[in-house]
């Protein structure tokens, strides 16, 4: 007799074969200039339930370039495990050919050259086409949005998320969970959520005063699909008031709350759920640990850490699906649910090649309408990248976009040291390209973007860096917040990610003089995205725009100021 576990593993192997052959074929076909929409969408409908997952779109309505990280280190039990495998190692693991379409979409390396051939990715009008095609196969497919949707662009900032709400509603999601949405402020979030035509969920969104589940969000929602009772449980980003300004949403408390998650799983199972799905904004490593701690979840649709994986990861009897970011991918998961349990699955991470997938006309029109009032401001060219500088963000320690932002802070704010948050959103700009105002907003836009200038002692600086490093490299994922290391300008340092907090950072050096940072000496520090309520200064996008305009053509060489010990 084949046990459930054997069946799942058999299914995983089958999925691997589909994934690998599919990906390899796309690569060759693309090389022959024959990548087609039909091939991208090809999927033999399976089982009786289909899930569609999008997450971490960060308000990218239009196609973008987005370079995946070359440095994404895992610690503790996750060292060397996906998603902490990058570049050529990633391609080797999944059998992806160098130079193929999936190399370009899923991994770093030769990005600028491949981008010329394969073009931009994403665009919600293309995403709509893919969703509609899946619904043509399986009309009652469940569309789930993992959050970080109403944040990340000029139009989203100026409309307080309304542009994204309007366009996403056309895609008809069935449920959503949250992270950056809360930085719109809790009044605005409640205003939008009240009118949403789908479930706004988070079992871990609590009332801060009473430490009880908030009445403003549902913990879960039931769907009846293909004769199957499906329960979808929401899991919002656990560390909202710590990683983002808690003063913007003081009524709410979050946390992982895996004991409460177990209660919710037991509750929905008790109510007859045959399939339990968790729509999560935990981040991948946290989801892996939660899958091990909580029993009874069949599928975790994982968001927050922006990982794009061509196959699900199996933890116990739970499959974890990671669907990338910025609109680059849509995941389709078909499930065979019988006799009250998940018997198998078929999965495909669908890359949204914007030149291959035809835009949905209705959604394309809606996107243009949302952008129309801001068109002139968005499209104004501020400067250019030189022929060798690719601007990108992803990486544990630095990205060229952040190096440029740090240079802007040092120059425009007359500072010795610059600090820039290690966020993972923000598209890339190819070498030799125009930089528009929209491009600058895409990597800086937020509701707490003021660029402060203050004095900090060397001791305080080290304390901050140790604190952020522990949020990234604590060996226990439940003590990690996602995001990357704070980016620095004007200083260099060494980091040993294997050490405990307080011992990771050393050799802090002021680059201008080559001298060691002194614990007692005050330094002039400029930064942005402070979580403190009373932060003062110009908006970061204005600082960066002024700097790029003053430079004309920007050149951002490789950053060699951070030495990493693993």
């Amino acid at each position: 007799m084949i046990s459930r576990r054997d069946f799942l593993q058999a299914s995983v192997a089958a999925s691997a074969i589909i994934g690998a052959s599919g990906f390899g074929r796309w690569g060759r076909l693309a090389a022959q200039q024959a990548l087609t929409q039909d091939q991208l969408l090809q999927f033999d409908t399976y089982g009786n339930v289909s899930l569609i997952h999008v997450t971490d779109i960060h308000a990218q309505l239009k196609p973008i370039y987005f370079r995946e990280p070359s440095v994404n280190l895992g610690v503790g039990p996750n060292k060397g495990e996906v998603p902490h495998i990058t570049g050529a190692d990633f391609r080797k693991l999944y059998g992806i050919d160098d130079g193929s379409a999936s190399h370009y979409a899923l991994s770093s390396g030769d990005f600028s050259a491949l981008a010329q051939g394969y073009g931009k990715m994403g665009g919600l009008d293309r995403v709509a086409t893919v969703i509609n095609a899946i619904r043509a196969d399986r009309p009652d497919a469940i569309l789930l949005d993992g959050g970080d949707t109403w944040h990340g662009s000029m139009t989203c900032y100026e409309t307080q998320g309304q542009d994204m709400v309007n366009v996403m509603n056309l895609l008809k999601p069935d449920a959503m969970t949250f992270h950056w949405e809360f930085t719109l402020g809790s009044d605005r979030v409640r205003e939008i959520v009240q009118d949403l035509p789908f479930a706004a969920m988070g079992q871990n969104i609590f009332d801060a005063e009473w430490d009880e589940p908030s009445e403003d969000f549902k913990p879960y929602e039931f769907f009846e699909r293909g004769g199957v009772k499906v329960a979808v449980i929401g899991q919002a980003f656990p560390y909202m008031p710590i990683a983002n300004p808690g003063w913007m949403f003081p009524e709410y408390s979050f946390g992982i709350r895996d004991a409460h998650m177990q209660d919710m799983v037991n509750e929905v199972r008790g109510m007859g759920a045959e399939l339990v799905v968790c729509l999560s904004h935990n981040g991948f490593d946290v989801d892996k640990k939660m899958a091990a701690n909580v029993t009874g979840i069949d599928v975790i649709l994982s968001g927050h850490t922006h990982d794009a994986l061509p196959e699900p990861v199996l933890v116990g009897e739970t499959i974890i699906v990671a669907s990338g970011s910025n609109g680059k991918f849509v995941s389709r998961v078909d499930l065979d649910v019988r006799d009250g349990r998940m018997m198998g699955f078929r999965h495909k991470l669908i890359p949204i090649f914007s030149d291959v997938i035809t835009p949905d006309a209705e959604v394309a029109k809606a996107i243009d309408a949302e952008r129309a009032p801001f068109k002139d401001r968005l499209e104004e060219v501020i400067g250019r990248t030189d022929d060798t500088s690719l601007l990108y963000r992803r990486g544990n320690f630095n990205g060229t976009w952040d190096d440029l932002i740090c240079n802007a802070l040092l120059d425009q704010r007359d500072a010795q040291i610059a600090l820039s948050p290690g966020v993972r959103w923000g598209p890339s700009i190819l070498p030799g390209s125009d930089i528009t105002r929209e491009d600058i907003w895409n990597v800086t836009s937020m509701t707490y973007g003021k660029a402060y200038r203050s004095e900090m002692t060397g001791e305080t600086l080290k304390l901050i860096m140790e604190d952020v490093a522990d949020n990234l490299f604590n060996p226990d994922p439940y003590y990690q917040q996602g995001g990357d290391m704070v980016r620095v300008g004007g200083i260099g340092y060494k980091i040993d990610i294997t050490k405990p907090i307080g011992e990771r950072i050393s050799d802090l050096t002021l680059l201008a003089t080559g001298e060691a940072i002194d614990a007692a000496t005050p330094y002039v520090v400029a930064g942005w995205a402070s979580v403190n309520e009373d932060t003062e200064g110009p908006q970061i996008w204005d600082v960066v725009e002024d700097y790029i305009a003053s430079q004309g053509t920007v050149s951002v060489p490789d950053n060699t100021n951070v030495v990493v010990v693993e």
Binding site: H179, A208, D211, F237, Y239, M240, P241, I242, A243, N244, G246, S253, F254, G255, I256, A259, H304, T305, H306, P421, G422, V423, R424, W425, L463, I464, D467, V468, D470, N471, N474, D476, Y478, Y479, Q481, G482, G483, D484, V486, I501, A529, S530, V531
Partner: protein
Amino acid sequence: MTITRRQTFMMALGASVAAAMPFRAFADASEDSIAAFTGGAEMGTEGLTLTAPEIAENGNTVPVEVSAPGAVSIMLLATGNPTPDAAIFNFGPLAASQTASTRIRLAKTQNVMAIAKMADGSFVQATQEVKVTIGGCGG
């Protein structure tokens, strides 16, 4: 007697754990409180649930819940605070449940510890690390 390489390694590990124990204050202030509460009795680990956040949203007011069915008394310690004693909950014979929740202030990242005295005079303990962070850079 021959010490094998493995034994040497284990000894070294034991020594390094002792040297690295971050809670030397715990040995002073907390230990006095624990000794006063338990009289130095051995403590088990089953039957007491301590619920606290992994990372505090606000170190000044951290929600903590303790639950130990059958307990007559539960002590709560913030082992890294200058004064570790946070609370002692006593449950009378008519108490419907032996559960209590409160909020405590944590000076820094530290272990929060609960010790329950059971009706038969035995003791159980539970510990959880609560991180107090300056935060700021979530992606």
